[in-house]
Symmetry: C2
Subunit: 110 residues, 2 copies
Amino acid sequence: MGATKTDHFSDSQNELAILTKALGHPARIAIIEYLLKVESCICGDIVNELPLAQPTVSQHLKELKNAGLIKGNVEGAAICYCINETGFDKVKAFFKLVNSHLDDKRIQCC
Amino acid sequence: MGATKTDHFSDSQNELAILTKALGHPARIAIIEYLLKVESCICGDIVNELPLAQPTVSQHLKELKNAGLIKGNVEGAAICYCINETGFDKVKAFFKLVNSHLDDKRIQCC
DNA sequence: TTATTATATTGCAATATTACGATATAATTT
DNA sequence: AAATTATATCGTAATATTGCAATATAATAA
């Protein structure tokens, strides 16, 4: 095997896993942090910012876009990227759930 | 290639990526959700809950534990698992940063 | 001591990810 | 139109992940 058994989990579990998986790489964390700082930029700016080749950055941007964490807008020959709040809202909703379970009770088995 | 170039990113970026990567699988999301619900349980309970074989569940638990998202406590022949708040606090800190960047300004390039 | 119970580890096949050179596409400039 | 600029896609090698059967380990019970 090697393929995730997505059909055995709920839609919301699969959707959340797609979002967190997209965040599960330091290059993509760096891209998100950079986009938060500069608000919006073109792919070339990120290539200059990261220690990765242009095709690699392009691939990471594609994954973040597919997951729904960023948006890309054609602007002449370039493409302008920015944060997609919709995706982040979904992840934040999960951590709201985590908080509501942990805030009041101090759960410790060890 | 195929190996992530972790040495080219900051410690905090790598650490956060380890945490989000661990959350990037529906089975591990399901385990976290279950642990939040029952507060603590043994591995066998999760095996009964998920559509995965015991070694597979054990492996997912190991990854969550290595990332710092859960704790395991030996309790006789069994091991009692529960949420590790420290790990979640680190992820929550990142989303606090995201919020602080997005809350006031409505960033949209498209 | 010999089961039994609970979990971890090993080994391996199938699949996915990461990274990048080479190349394609598409808009702009000269 | 030809060159330039900006990004995406293709192809591929190296590596990582997923899943599980078989087996090992470790504590408890009979």
